[in-house]
Amino acid sequence: MKSTHPTIALVGNPNTGKTTLFNALSGLNQRVGNYPGVTVETKKGKFHWQGQTFNVIDLPGAYSLAARSPDEMVAVDVILGREEGEAKPDVVVAIVDASNLERNLYLTTQLFELGVPVVVALNMMDVAAAQGITIDVARLSERLNVPVIPVQANKSKGIQELKAAVAKAVGASPPKLAPSFPPAFEEEVASLGRKLAGDVPSFLLRRLLIDVGGQTERLFKTETHNHLDEYLDSARARLAQAGCGVPAIEARVRYGWIRQATADCLHRPVQRPPSWTDRIDAVLTHRVWGLLVFLAIMFIVFQSIFAWAKPLMEAIGAGQEWLGAWVGAGLEPGPLRSLLVDGVVKGVGSVLVFLPQILILFAFVAVLEDCGYMARAAYLMDRLMARAGLNGKSFIPLLSSMACAVPGIMAARVIENRRDRFATIVVAPLMSCSARLPVYALLIGAFLASPEEASITNWGWWRPGVVLFAMYCLGLVLAPLVAFALKRTLLRGETPVFVMEMPLYKRPSVRIVARRAIEAGWQFVYRAGTLILASMIVIWALLYFPATHPSGDNYDRLLAERQADRDRWEEQADDLAKELEDRPDSDKQRQLQAMRTTIEAMDDEIRELQQAWKAQSYLGRVGRWLEPMVRPLGWDWRIGLAALASFPAREVMVGTLGLIFQQGEGDASEEGYQLQLGRRLQEATWDDEPTRKLFNVPVALSIMVFFALCCQCASTLAVIKRETHSWRWPAFTFVYMTTLAYLGALLVYQVGSLWSGV
């Protein structure tokens, strides 16, 4: 983005109110952006001051510019003007938490060395005052030799003054004061510069020396510098000899300088008064009470995405049906109508249906993060998650995935470490989500509920509950195991740093929460929605075509005709029934009964026609062709076809089974429909052996296990693509889950058959 307007970069530690300040500066005028190759987001906005426009970039929060990953390198690259397509900023605004001045200034002193004018925005003076900390702002500005502007971002105080200071700083000279490193260190920097040749900024040379195993090392190694490793090793050894070993030297120099600079302008009470945070934390991080509160909060979060979202999702479903009917009414039966109604409208509906859950979960995550609780939750859960090689922050994404993996995967953004985030994202779809429930309910209801129909043993009334619980446990047990394996193979690397600040508690800002929820929703619809829609249309086409009946007519039109016929008969029957109510007549009663029988026969005919159509569709043919592969799971081609058709969205399984087993396509969540379909399934027999029942307990279990483990959800894959910025991870997730599902179903069927002697 080339622009003639000055560019301002906003940099600061996490939890300093940086986002609030960015919002206060740029108002609603902002957009989220990504740089190639990184997974962190940067926000861009604009503000105006005295007729001039300024671009603002909100860089990811950081404690230091010592980058250890491409994600952390973004801030350094942007400020040094090394990020492609991005103008070098004219001014850097360092936002600093006044209540924790020394540690916040560490990053600020690094910014002093980047050759860009710096303005310090001193935030949270009120919090500092409450802790008895006083800061002499004028003197601090003098000591640091940069403008220091006190602001209260959450009350929009000091924003005008900050804008004025920023406008003044454009074109000014970069900070003149900065912590000075020992001569031995500076000599090493100079000789490293000579060795590398080219125009390497001195800041990067320092990083190269200090950050053992850091991102700069990786960067220069790939840039064909031979023997860099050996050289760095010897240079670092020389530094250690000279008494300024890395990385300690940087912290000693910077904190020493900061202590001196703040000595006469920062006053702290000798006895720290107990703060609100101390009192709240005494409960919230308590071994017993803390855990209870945590569980209660998690229950509310889980319940909300599971239950509160339901009415909204149902409303979206109803809206979709209404729209489908409205669109369909104006069109002749045929491919176009079917494409619009069954492909496009259904596809759009299946994108929008996730929105309530995403909005609710993200509102919760934003509240928990903004008020400071997220760090406590991670603290409480860390030990448990560490066993799977993850960290405490993976807990909420995984728990949320039990309602729906789509918002769960998006919630994994709170995990800073890239490898931990990816491992969490890849295992999240293993958690049993709410879309699997109708499949479990149907099969458990039909084959595992009543003991008299059981073929294994006569278990008690508790069997349905146990089976359902087991299906949920499957994901709960396998997800950590897969994560554990991944962290030792594909996502292997040095142990991520867990060292985490426990920020002060504060009241969450409604604006930040609303903004985050809406942003997440929009990103999902915009970036993942198109992919989901496309896959829904592909599957629609595979199930629709070829649509030519052996008679040469179109299946769709034939069905519409039969349906219209049937509806006419029903109308007549209803009229007759009403007439009979007023004036009973035995002749007419018989006539009505005959009509009802005819209607039933017509229903059967319609269902048969539907089944025949789906069976000869392209997907049906693939299903038949795949039958040898699903036989070992105890399935025939029809079950295979239903499973295949459920790959874009597993919730269509029940409806597809309905189509194939001649119950018609009904509402999967409706109990009556499930009951009838269950009966159809109980009666179903093998095509080649009409006396042998198709379904039994091992077959039902094998289908359920397959559904528990398989990634039959285009939305999940689209979101994984979106969050990892790569096709590799969704492809990997799809392959490993399908393999796991197949093997799991195979094992369950084979062992189950042996055991029950079927």
């Binding site: 802790q131 053992v212 991080t285 071994r287």
Partner: protein, 75 residues
């Protein structure tokens, strides 16, 4: 001489030395854990790990394995 992970809740210590040159040690330095700095253990998570520590003007949570790199003199 002890390491930080051996301190009990409520105990204080002064940092004597830190081991290692990798990212974890660097992060500890950056967060202000320097030789001579005062630390106080203010709590342990339910399973005994990680631990919560107060230093300078803020609170930090770190795993025991990370705390084991920090040699402290109990106060």
């Amino acid at each position: 001489m002890q390491t930080l992970d051996c301190l009990g809740v409520g105990q204080r210590g002064r940092v004597e030395a830190m081991a290692g040159t990798d990212a974890i040690t660097q992060r500890l330095y950056e967060m202000g854990i320097l030789e001579g700095e005062e630390l106080e253990v203010i709590g342990l998570a339910p399973l005994g790990d990680p631990m919560e520590v107060r230093l300078r003007d803020y609170r930090l949570s770190l795993r025991r394995s990370e705390a084991a790199r920090i040699t402290v003199r109990p106060m």
